[in-house]
Every structure is written in structure tokens, then in C-alpha cells.
């Protein structure tokens, strides 16, 4: 009983601190005379603005069966037929002049922030696949008994982990990209997967080494060759054990993908910068962008937690 009320107290403290932080942000923006214009943000995510269709010539409007608007020209131009619209702005038989509004069409346009999100997602997913493949082979090479493979892998891992991702992106785009004639997206994906692959390699290595050698011996004693033993016995166990660090690495990848905006890939971050320059609402935009990244990373960690639960049946 004593303990429960303590817990409740600390939960209340937590809520108070969060409220305090929120108020701090509000007060901070007040102190610099910032006017919040949240209403400007949604249109950059999904744009439902109606566009008006105007008459291209002088003529007469008729509304036909099936709700079709037909405008016949006074000067013999081909008649204008509009089949789909949301609001009709003229009546049957009205005379219209060039430039008069005829109908409104509501179109659902995907806004630049959503396009940025899609690009970030594409970058992350494609890079993830390559990074896992690179990491798996580099990790296996790292523990190989063949010195050539082992040293190659160590060199790769140390080079990548010892240099900033931003610099690697520039090298991939300006040097390797120029030599091999890569487009921006490919160069970005290459940089991200090579970078993340080095970290995954270390996770794979430690995962495999954490499996007791007896597992490999048992598999080999049953007649499996090295590859069969790896695929059927060692890697499934290592996979389960490395899920938590892998999840962290995947989340890092999503976040690191924001750096490719420096080579003019319009990912979520670059889209954010562009929207800021057209809305002059930097605070709202960057909060919205942060929230969108959170949705991606949150969905990923949720999915991985589900997977972990499912794999825990054998514990």
C-alpha cells in the first residue's frame, strides 16, 4: 500500500515535469514574440485545397445529364467538357466570359513533407537491405579463419567507424559517384548502407561469438557443412540475440538518412528546410518533421518488439 502511493506520486511528478517542459516551450516562444501558425502545416502534408477551373473562352454553359458541364464557344472553338467537379459555380444556360470561374475541383495532393517522408522511407528501406547483407558478410569475414578475409573486414570496419558519415556521403557522391556515374539516390543509399553495414558487421560478429562453440560442434558432428550449420543453427540463434542492438542500428539508419539532404536528395529533412523557407514557420515545421521521424522510428521499434516476443517461445 505504502509502495503503491509512492509509485503514484512519482507518476504525478513525471506528468508535472512533462507539463512544465511544454509550458517552457510555450513561454520561450512568447519571450521572442513568436506567433504559432500551426494551421499552415497540414497543407504541406496533405493538400486538399480546391482548384478553380476557369473558362478558356467566351461562351455558354449547359449542364447535361449525368452532371456534365459543357461550355460551347462563341467563336467556334472545341467545346469544353468537364465531367468531374465538386462545386458548380455557374448555372444552366449562363453566359460565361473568358476567365470566369466554372467549377471547383478538390484534389488531394500529397504535400512536400509527405514526399520527403516517402523518400526517407525509401532511402532507409533500401539501405537497410544492403546494410544487412554487407554487415552479414563482413561479420562472417571478421571471424573467418582466412586472414585475407579477416583483415579486409577489419580494415573496412575501422575505416568506416573512424570517419564521419557526412564526410563519407561527400566522398560517395563527389568521388565514387563521379567515377562510377551514380545518381544522387544511389550514392546516398551506397553511403548509408556501407556506413551502417560496418556497425551491423560488429553486431553480427558479437552475436555469432556469443553462441557457445558446442552448437557448431553439434551441428558439424551431425554431418552439416559449415554453411548449413551457420544457416540452420548459429545464425537463427544469433539473430534472436542481436535483435535489440539491430533495432538500435536500424533506428540510427533512419535518423542518419537525414544527412543525405546535403547532396540534394529531398528527404524529410530537406523537405522541412524547403517548407520553412516558404512558410516562415520554422518552429512548427521542425516540430512536425521531428514528429514524422518519431512515427517512423516508433513503428520500427514496435515491429521489432513484436518479433522479439514471437521469437521468445523457445526461452
Amino acid at each position: 500500500m505504502e509502495k503503491q502511493s509512492h509509485l503514484l506520486l512519482w507518476k504525478a511528478v513525471f506528468v508535472l515535469i512533462i507539463i512544465g517542459l511544454g509550458f517552457g516551450i510555450y513561454a520561450g516562444s512568447k519571450s521572442i514574440d513568436y506567433t504559432w501558425r500551426w494551421e499552415r502545416i497540414p497543407q504541406y502534408i496533405i493538400n486538399t485545397e480546391a482548384t478553380t477551373v476557369r473558362a478558356p473562352f467566351d461562351g455558354t454553359a449547359t449542364i447535361e445529364k449525368g452532371n456534365r458541364l459543357v461550355v460551347t464557344s462563341d467563336y467556334g472553338d472545341d467545346p469544353l467538357v468537364i465531367k468531374k467537379f465538386d462545386n458548380l459555380l455557374v448555372g444552366h444556360g449562363d453566359l460565361v466570359f473568358e476567365g470566369d470561374p466554372l467549377v471547383e475541383v478538390e484534389n488531394w495532393n500529397i504535400g512536400p513533407l509527405t514526399w520527403g517522408l516517402v523518400m526517407t522511407l525509401q532511402l532507409s528501406v533500401v539501405s537497410l537491405v544492403f546494410a544487412v547483407v554487407i554487415g552479414l558478410f563482413a561479420g562472417l569475414a571478421r571471424i573467418s579463419s582466412n586472414p585475407a578475409l579477416r583483415y579486409l573486414s577489419i580494415t573496412y570496419i575501422e575505416l568506416i567507424r573512424g570517419t564521419p558519415l557526412l564526410v563519407q556521403i561527400f566522398i560517395f557522391y563527389f568521388f565514387i559517384g563521379t567515377v562510377l556515374d551514380l545518381d544522387r539516390f544511389t550514392a546516398g543509399v551506397a553511403a548509408l548502407s556501407v556506413f551502417t553495414g560496418a556497425y551491423i558487421a560488429e553486431i553480427v560478429r558479437s552475436g555469432i561469438q556469443s553462441i557457445s562453440p558446442g552448437q557448431m560442434e553439434a551441428a558439424r558432428s551431425l554431418g552439416m557443412n559449415y554453411v548449413q550449420a551457420m544457416v540452420n543453427v548459429i545464425l537463427p540463434q544469433a539473430f534472436k540475440r542481436t535483435l535489440p542492438p539491430m533495432a538500435g542500428q536500424f533506428i540510427n539508419l533512419i535518423k542518419d538518412s537525414s544527412l543525405v539532404s546535403v547532396i540534394s536528395i529531398t528527404d524529410l529533412t530537406k523537405a522541412g528546410r524547403e517548407v520553412v523557407s516558404s512558410t516562415f514557420a520554422p518552429f512548427e515545421v521542425w516540430f512536425a518533421v521531428a514528429l514524422m521521424y518519431l512515427v517512423l522510428t516508433g513503428a520500427l521499434s514496435w515491429a521489432i518488439q513484436r518479433l522479439e516476443k514471437r521469437l521468445s517461445a523457445s526461452d
Binding site: 557457445s212 558446442g214 552448437q215 560442434e217 553439434a218 551441428a219 558439424r220 558432428s221 551431425l222 554431418g223 552439416m224 557443412n225 548449413q228 540452420n232 543453427v233 537463427p236 540463434q237 534472436k240 517461445a313 523457445s314 526461452d315
Partner: protein
Amino acid sequence: MTNRTDKSIIQARNIEKIYPNGCHALKKVSLDINRGEVVVIIGPSGSGKSTFLRTLNQLETISDGTIHIDEVSLTDRKTNINKVREEVGMVFQSFNLFPHKTALGNVALSPIKVKKKPRAVAEQEGRELLKKVGLAERMNNYPSHLSGGQQQRVAIARALAMHPKIMLFDEPTSALDPEMVGEVLDVMKSLARDGMTMVVVTHEMGFAREVADRVVFMEDGELVFEESPERFFSSDNPRLQRFLGQVL
């Protein structure tokens, strides 16, 4: 003295094993084992028993000497060691079951992946083997939900699923609580009765007396002494006496 060479299924001659760290684990060890024979190896800790056993399926390579399993040379570079290992089952002190597979999954894995048997066939055979070792009710349990004795019996069934000609046991009961030793030894005894060729490293002198056709004593990497159980346990070899004095 019978001439064993023509019917022996295992021929180990002058095996030397020097580990990379310089440890000289086997010194001129020679042993022939006949088809259907049960050989028990005993000896003090560090005498090279495990090392010797593991050379027989090449989990350890040898530094010198020759080993033939069913007339196939293990030192010949052309020998496919995976094929040999299909014929030589091994049971470990620490079970080494695959924790991500159920009991049945453990038993069926290698027949499916190595022998390319259809899953249904491999699982049917697996169920029969598990029944044979008394685990009909535990087929779908993961190893973490089995007792030590049950795990070791699954491990035996898993090795048998490859239909080996030889079974190697490395202290199969040493990691078990005393009350579970019996159930594992019973499975091994029935295997011996069925005519399996077995090489068993153990400290269970009762098992050696009852089941072994021959008992081998190793010390300091050397094969000191080999005899039938009756003569073995009544021998007055001083090194053997000293060891038996310690364990009995």
C-alpha cells in the same frame, strides 16, 4: 589374441595431437574397435579422453598418425569429412541441443538439411526415435523446458536420426543430477544391446563393468592399458590402481 584389423570399423594408429598452444594431448595412441563393440575409456582429467574421441569425427584434427573409419581414411584430403560424420554420431557432456528448435525439431533438422529427407518423413522417424528414448510426450518441448536427463536423451535421438554406424559419447552423464543418470544409461544400454558400435568416455564404472566389451585406460595422453572389464577391474597395473583408488 584375435586379429581385429580385418573386421574393425575404427582403426586409429599412432595418433599424435599437439594443440596450437603446445599442449601434447595425445601420444602415439592406437586403438582398433570392432563392429558392434562397446569400448569405455576412463582416465583422469586432462588425460586426453575427449581429445581422442573428438579426433574420431575430426572435431579435432590430428598432428600425426592415421585414422580409418569403415575403411575411409580421415587424414586423406580427398575424404569428405561431412559424409564420415553422418556415420559417426556424437553425444556431448553439455547436450548441445539447438535451443531454438523443439525436441522433434532437433531430431529432424539434420535428416532434412543433410540427407534431404522430406519433412514429413524426417518427423515421422524423429517421433519414433523420441518414443524409443521415452520422450513421446515431450516432442514439442523446447530444450529449455526439458530436464537434463530428457535433454540428453533428445541428444541421443538426434544423433541416431542420421542412422550412424558408430556412436561417440563424451561423459554423457557428467552434467546430470544423480537421479537422472540412470535414464540416460538405460538408453545407452539398450543401444548397446541393439548392436551399436559405441565409444564411451565415462566415470560410470558400473556401466563399464556391465556393458563394455573392452575398457581402455588413458593417462597423460597415453593409452596405458586396455582389457575386458573383468580383467580390467582386477588388474594390478599400478597406474590404473592409483586412478581407481581415487575414483572408487
